[in-house]
Symmetry: C2
């Protein structure tokens, strides 16, 4: 069983390749829920949806989120009602939020709701929310303490970042299956996701980082930086805001206590030795995922690295 720790778009792009080179039934994805938000009474789990839609083959490929060929008439009507519509929700996408919210109101946990939705889409891959408890990533900016989605979407990541807070962090327990899947994994992959607001949220849930340290499985993380910059998203702004150098070295440093190998992009190969000095194996490959072909190649590379690490034991 391969276990992947995942945020949204970056992780989904990698997983799109992974599901083509490894049996879906043998993939478990632990997904960040710190970005979850309730809007208009609906429970929205952006990262779970991005991963689900991508594996189901219905994601809007251009944007990397939402469903392809979607319409936005629900939002248009909200505008008619004079209601603020800063968060994009397509009409097809809305079906997911409505069904999930209905499941939750009927007493299902987020895990159970996610499992049902995945089954309805015949996903076969197991998707686990990191936690069923309320957990909210808040960004402390020069304009105040705001929800991560407000920072990212409503404010277009334009505010000065001062800190990142995890609300609910102390109470959040890992969702059923999370710890077990880490402990029983054959290989663990930290997807090319935002380390500060996607992976660190997962790590902050009680017991998850400990399990990652204890597991016998090899753990490989894939850099989300190419040429020292994020392919997408505000990772550079968040890192700067947290006083971190924007580099794969900083990221390896965050992960160093539980990863065995760090996969660096060819454009950043000069950091290889510096990261190795942290006691981590470093592999240099082309991590830019232009199309499906590259995604499959990267996934194959990661599986190959996993095999190498095992043989080295």
């Amino acid at each position: 069983m391969i276990v992947a720790l995942a945020g949204g778009v970056g992780a989904a792009r990698f997983i799109e390749g992974l599901v083509r080179v490894h049996p879906r039934e043998k993939i478990t994805i632990i997904v960040n829920t710190g970005d979850d938000i309730e809007l208009y009474g609906l429970h929205i789990s952006p990262d779970i949806d991005i991963i689900t839609y991508t594996i189901a083959g219905i994601v809007d490929k251009k944007k990397g989120w939402g469903i392809e060929d979607d319409s936005f008439n629900f939002l248009n009507m909200l505008k008619n009602y004079g209601i603020d519509t800063w968060f994009n929700i397509g009409d097809r996408d809305l079906a997911t939020h409505i069904i999930r919210t209905d499941f939750l109101r009927r007493g299902l946990t987020l895990s159970e709701a996610t499992e049902r939705l995945c089954k309805l889409l015949n996903l076969k891959v197991k998707i686990l929310p990191m936690s069923n408890e309320k957990f909210q990533t808040r960004i402390i900016t020069d304009r105040g303490n705001i929800h991560f989605q407000e920072y990212l979407v409503k404010r277009s990541s334009q505010d000065q970042v001062r800190d990142i807070l995890f609300e609910g962090e102390k109470k959040a327990k890992p969702a059923p299956g999370v710890i077990e899947s880490i402990l029983n994994a054959e290989l663990i992959i930290v997807c090319p996701s935002n380390p500060l607001v996607s992976i660190r949220t997962i790590l902050s849930v009680d017991g998850i980082e400990k399990a990652l340290k204890e597991t016998k499985a090899k753990t490989i993380s894939i850099t989300p930086l190419i040429g020292g910059s994020p392919v997408k998203g505000p990772l550079d702004k968040l890192m700067k805001g947290m006083g971190l150098e924007v580099s794969s070295f900083s990221i390896a440093n965050i992960y160093k206590d539980f990863i065995d190998a760090f996969v660096l992009d060819v454009t950043d190969r000069d950091l290889k030795e510096k990261i190795e000095s942290l006691g981590i194996d470093v592999y240099v490959i082309d991590t830019l995922m232009k199309g499906l072909k590259e995604k499959i190649q990267i996934a194959e590379n990661i599986l190959r690295i996993g095999d190498e690490l095992k043989r080295e034991e």
Copy 2:
């Protein structure tokens, strides 16, 4: 103040004319909520929505319900999820259900939620649900006891009707303003709606029929039958199922204890004397509402009849 008792499509067609010949601020519409249904965790009030959309000028004119130029991608995605989608909900229409449900979950009553939605659409007309309590029109058919919307939409009114039950009838109190508006009205209009499942539901709410008998306002009902047949909907089937003759006489007979005048269609003018024998004034006009012109003409006729009735006092 004019008070109208209303169901869905038939009433809305008449009201479309009424709002053009009488100040909107002086119109209160008491709307049937027996057709309300919860689907996917959303509170849907079909008749309130039809009336609201019609007055707001956004109704789908061809169908008489829903919003014009709507898309159905939410429903398409539900189908992808393998979920039953017998009830038509457009993507724009969905905004109303979501906002209403959110209001209700936050503790607002249906009246308050309706008032807010009407205000957001700048409706000016006052729309009152007949009751804020749960009230459900059930049709007893040869296939069992089903929700009215299931009978009408899912089963296309094809089942043999044996009885009509009002679930919640005994507990339902009139919504705030309903009794007061009836008692203080200058004119009351029973819209050309289904007497059995739209108007009788309203009458069955505790105190409403009593207020209609006590009010000093003249009450005029408009027949929903033309040439002895309903313009739209399953009224004939429901009447037959209840052992009633399908005719305006049967309808006048249901209303006889609280109406002053019955407006009959020209095609049924031979029933005039028979209905007058019930002690009701009968007016014969062309009630077919082809376009806006006819709707305005009928509304003008009704106001004229109201004036005549007052002068006769």
